[in-house]
């Protein structure tokens, strides 16, 4: 851990520098339009010419106006500190000083990322639990029944070849129209994405015991359930956790995608709302919250894994 801090900081600094650099050409057109409106002289002077000019030509022709590319209100690519400010404003500031914030109203503000993150987290967690359970049950069926092995696995694979963004709106519309609460509708999409890695990992895990270990169980005349509980299931645990990590990240993606078609809260709704109204900072802030949540969720599964494996005698 000790020696890894340096490289991490270097990479992070490089990424931030690259981001700042990219913000200049990305935002130059909007900045120049604004500057012209404010009465400044820009090159070239006419809006039509600027529209056809290359971004880099505009950058080098108007060096004195570039400072504003990092503080523009309507930037295409907001600078990192703008995103950080948005994050701060839409979490701490909104909750502590906002009219609808938790301090004044007693509940999280629907304009804060704490609230929207919570909405997404709920759908992610529910979808993950459903998906993981379904995945484990399907895997058990596949391992124990040849019919299921032949019939379920191809469908499971086909289900993952359909782009979820194409499928999600239809599923959401159908699920809403039959009166399912939004949380469940989103959880269904989450589960749809997360069951698959669990099935694949768990099938492999349950089949991990080799011939010798299965023969050993036969010499004891062990029942199927003994073989499952005492051999196959414990042998599958490392595989299960590896696929749960993929599954929980997929669950989060599913929940966000499920929030896109309906503006009823959640990080997905914030992202789409931001793109409707040109609020790029809002999109980025929601993206960062989603990324942070994904990291924490995967870390949580990793923590569970370490605890479980330690309890199973694996040296840490």
């Amino acid at each position: 851990m000790k020696g890894s801090v340096g490289p991490i900081v270097v990479i992070l600094a490089a990424l931030i520098a690259l981001w700042y650099a990219a913000a200049v050409p990305m935002n130059v057109k909007e900045v120049l339009t604004q500057a012209e409106r404010d009465g400044a002289v820009v090159q070239p002077a006419s809006a039509a010419e600027r529209r056809d000019a290359g971004r880099w030509a505009l950058v080098f022709g108007n060096l004195e106006h570039l400072g504003a590319t990092w503080s523009s209100e309507r930037s295409r690519l907001p600078a990192p500190h703008q995103v950080v400010m948005e994050l701060w404003d839409s979490t701490w500031v909104e909750e502590t000083t906002g009219r609808r914030g938790i301090v004044r109203s007693g509940s999280f503000s629907n304009r804060s990322l704490v609230y929207h993150g919570g909405v997404t987290l709920g759908a992610t967690a529910l979808g993950f639990v459903i998906g993981a359970l379904a995945g484990v049950l399907l895997a058990v069926g596949i391992v124990y029944s040849r019919v299921m092995d032949m019939s379920v696995m191809p469908w499971a694979i086909i289900s993952q070849t359909i782009p979820i963004v194409a499928l999600a709106p239809m599923m959401i519309v159908v699920l809403y129209s039959v009166g399912l609460p939004g949380l469940f509708a989103k959880a269904v999409i989450s589960a749809y994405l997360s069951f698959f890695p669990v099935v694949v990992g768990m099938v492999k895990g349950l089949r991990a015991p080799d011939h010798m270990q299965l023969d050993l169980m036969r010499t004891y005349n062990a029942s199927k359930s003994d073989t499952f509980w005492k051999l196959r299931l414990p042998a599958s645990v490392p595989y299960l956790f590896a696929s749960l990590k993929i599954g929980i990240a997929a669950s989060l993606v599913g929940a966000i995608v499920g929030e896109l078609p309906v503006q009823r809260g959640g990080l997905g709704a914030r992202m789409l709302g931001g793109s409707y109204y040109g609020q790029t900072e809002q999109i980025w802030a929601a993206l960062f919250v989603a990324a942070l949540m994904a990291a924490l969720l995967v870390w949580f599964i990793g923590w569970l894994e370490r605890r479980t494996l330690n309890a199973m005698g694996v040296p840490s």
């Binding site: 023969d215 050993l216 169980m217 005349n221 003994d226 005492k230 199973m312 005698g313 040296p315």
Partner: protein, 257 residues
């Protein structure tokens, strides 16, 4: 009293390259309390024969009985303990937990489980290692634990498939000595597959020499060595003579091809 009896036993595997005669016309009687070694080159059917006794492989012809039952009935009656080539201990169970495995499956009470685990651990000289995990033990100790696991439910027959094949010479000598002591103490009937002539001669009351293609018995040698066998018995003329006969049997099997 005959415990295991095979009469004109055949086993043919159907493979993509045509039938493989793993066992052909195998006839053998094993009496109670005997220590029988099966020796021969790879593919001679020695492991297959052991697996037939255990009911893990179904013969395609002939008769075989274990304790007067079919091998499958004997397996269901838990008539034997089986030791595999690799220790195959469950890494998620302690040594004690591994030995408890068959006892749990066979429905022994908790108190009896604890008592038997302690007893068998002591038998294989592993007392004090009950709470250790397999990775904390050496290969020889792991194999001893797997023998304890096979002994825990006290079946009359112990079947061992090259249990010491992966261990070094010194550990192997030590385990051979311990196995003989254990056999003398428990009076079990032991079927023991090996590659090693000295191991077979040192351990056995009866040595079954086998040869491949088709897998068959070429010689059955009744040992003239006394039951009490210190390690240096291997230098005695008697021992060398038996080893000689085993080697001749193995060579004869090869010339046949």
């Amino acid at each position: 009293m005959t415990v295991i009896s095979a009469t004109s036993l055949d086993l043919t595997f159907q493979t993509n390259d045509g039938p493989v005669h793993a066992l052909k016309d195998v006839n053998l009687e094993i009496g109670k309390g005997e220590f029988v070694s099966f020796i021969g080159p790879s593919g001679c059917g020695k492991t297959t024969f052991l697996r037939c006794i255990a009911g893990l492989e179904a013969p395609t012809g002939g008769e075989i009985s274990v304790n007067g039952m079919t091998p499958d009935e004997a397996r269901k009656a838990r008539a034997y303990g089986y030791v595999f080539q690799a220790a195959g201990l469950y890494p998620w169970r302690t040594i004690g937990g591994n030995i408890r495995l068959p006892l749990e499956i066979m429905g022994f009470t908790k108190a009896e489980q604890a008592e038997r685990v302690a007893k068998t651990l002591e038998m294989v000289d592993l007392a004090g290692f009950e709470k250790k995990y397999p990775w904390q033990l050496s290969g020889g100790m792991q194999q001893r634990a797997s023998i304890a696991r096979a002994l825990a439910f006290d079946a009359d027959i112990l079947l061992m498939d090259e249990p010491f094949g992966a261990l070094d010479e010194i550990v192997r000598d030590h385990l051979n000595e311990q196995l003989l002591a254990l056999w003398a103490r428990t009076e079990k009937t032991i079927g023991f597959v090996t590659h090693s002539i000295p191991e077979a001669v040192y351990l056995s009351t009866k040595i079954v020499v086998m040869s491949p293609r088709p897998g068959r018995i070429t010689d059955v040698i009744d040992s003239t060595l006394p039951k009490e066998r210190p390690l240096d018995i291997r230098d005695s003329p008697e021992f060398i003579e038996i080893a000689h006969r085993v080697r001749d049997g193995l060579r004869a099997g090869h010339i046949d091809e």
